[in-house]
Amino acid sequence: MPDAPDTLPDLDSLRRRIARLEGDGGGSAEPDQSRVASPVPLGHPALDDTLGGGLRRGDLHEIRASEANGALAFGFAAALAARLCAWPGGDRVDVDRPPLERTAQGPTGRHRPGGRWTLIVTTFDGAGEWGRPYGPGLAAFGLDPGRLLIVETRRPREALWAAEEGLSSRALAAVLAEIRGDPAVVDMTATRRLTLRAARSGVTAMLVRPGAGAGLSAARTRWRISPPADLGVSESLALPQPAWQADLERNAARPGGCFTLMWKPDEHVFTPAPPLLTSGIADPGTGQPGSAWSGSDWPGSDRSGTAVPRRQAAAPAGRTAEGGSADRPAVLPLRRAG
């Protein structure tokens, strides 16, 4: 009810409504900028540039991967959701009213008491293949398990329905839906519906599709996730923070690109992957990583040069002993440690 203090809509809101109707019907028309919230920067400078400032809210982002990389794709989507939730006001979009909490937060706000929830939709099939979302793991990943609504459906069609319902509710920050394989129901129409719902409510949608082919989709961005290339085999056994090779295959009207991203769950921020993930100075006893890559400003980083021309092949190449130096020299001046 607090939505409508005035009975008469002002001219601006009528204009917005018309723009919205046109945007819905036309397909290609850009929605009115005045009601689109600013994108959420992910923290990786080159990627944010490519995305036009960051991840757009109130839109559909599709994350594809091979079946074997299903858990990685889910992890990437979870990181995006965690980033949205941690960004001041990132969990709400000013569709009709300004956010109330914007000023109260620091730049990397932790879970705020009033933060919005995230809906995770999986199928029985996906839960059997990769397991169910696990609270302690999500917490360690930077996503508050206490603010998750988790749905498991029998069929992909029901998963789409649940995602649509979630996108129609303004109570959420994000909807993360995982649909395995290439079911016929996940088509242009279905993704278009998700996009429209997301635009109307301002809720951000992440559609995770492990095992999906190259089918069409109405998503604003489409990613292909694989393990970070060029990490090599290490003598030191410590594990670095989660990282992905993220190929931005579709990026609305902009060019895409390939990025190696690392997720810092404690800071809720993405960074370019450091050149030497395999730090020889990690202490195997405690697993405590060395200082060389523990911060975001590790030595030798080349932030501006992280983006590389879009590759044609979607499969991650360069997991060989030579590393990926020939494949994308600008990305990772990597050598095997040891």
């Binding site: 979302p133 206490g146 498991e152 979630g166 056994l237 594990l239 923070q241």
Partner: protein, 486 residues
Amino acid sequence: MRLAAVDRVAAAAGLDPGLTLADARARRPDLETFPADPEADRRTLLALAEWAGRYTPLVSLDGPCGLVLDIAGCTHLFGGETALLADLTGRLRRRGLTGAAAIADTATAARALARTTPGTVVPPGGNAEAVAALPVGALEADPSTVATLDRLGLKRIGQLVGLPRQTLAARFGPDLLTRLDRALARADEPLSPLRAPPAFLVERTFAEPIRLVEDIERTIRTLAGHLAEPLTRHGQGARRLALTLFRLDGRALRIEAGLSRPARAPDVMASLLRERLVTFDSGLDTGEGIELVRLAAEVVEAFDAEQVAAARIAPDRTEDEEALARLADRLAARLGRDHVVRLVSRDSHIPERAAAAVPAVDGLSGTHWPQPLPRPGRAPERPLRLLAVPEPIEAIAEVPDGPPIRFRWRRVLRRIARMEGPERIAPEWWAQAGGGLQEASEDAATLTRDYFRVEDDAGRRYWVFRAGLFGRETARPRWYLHGLFG
């Protein structure tokens, strides 16, 4: 083989339940028999009990073949007790069921009368008179007691009334006395209704049965509006709604919907029930039509104080919470309450017990996860996804108690490039039952686990463990994969 039940014709021919099949066949070669199916009988009786809900919400089962209806306060809706009884038996007959029914002050008396003189309606306070002439056997006491009474010449219930209570109790035990007291309405008789009586209930009868789903939806909307009135008056909101559609052919369809937050707005209640209607895969089977629709708020909770006040203080927050609750309810109504969950933290260091999924409909507030969560600069200690049951893997380690070098999971060999561990997790000796491990391996649940976070040479991360300390707990430790990192 023996006869389990006989119909009226067979009974008239002198066949009784309990007779052996051979004897019965000898007496009546033309006897038709069907195998007894107690389970099906029970299902039929339960369906009948659901249907009997049209007369009163308090329906209890009485043995394997009877129902007890508590009709106190309901009879005026049907034009009195006699009319109610006629209506009930008439409907049963039209459905092809032979029923015997009676009305009395207590269930024991009504039961005794139904089995001896069906159709009796005992006026209030007339129990003693009505049962006096009935045979003692109608009390359904222990058969040996009945036989003894019979030998003593005590054949009618009325004969027992004047006997000294102490003597009866001493001779036959307290059970007979209790039954007698109940039959005479001298003692209360506790009943256990199949469903708890709803807090509020509204219904609508149709002279002309309705069939169309649209009509049902419109009725739901109207009834929800009616239900909102008493809820508002009493300051309550519904936590569980039940819609019962009574079909003309005597079936009753029951639809339940839970609410994670009390609600009483007609739109909210109606849309939730409509969501449930959709779940009938092959469409709603209305049979020959629906003659009665009932909407009940079965579980209610105080509504006003908390929610109204909160809405005034923080309208934005309250609106969000409300929207979230409505979303959860809608999802649960369509997908089933156990498939829409939230995660709660449990006090256990056993991974599969450290978190639990609870239905969102049971409430969405009050979840707190222990801090601090992520470790600065470190990989997460726990996987994003946990398999329902740890899957056995073939792992190779350099030494039996050392870290794994490679392992085979789902037929694929994975070489380990990086690894952290072990993290030793001892079994909770005080809580051995439960957990997914028993299914995977009987003994693994009682063994110490050494967990490793491993990354294979393709860059994927797994959470694996070795069950059992080498040399101390087992000679050949087994390996399992428990979860996947993102």
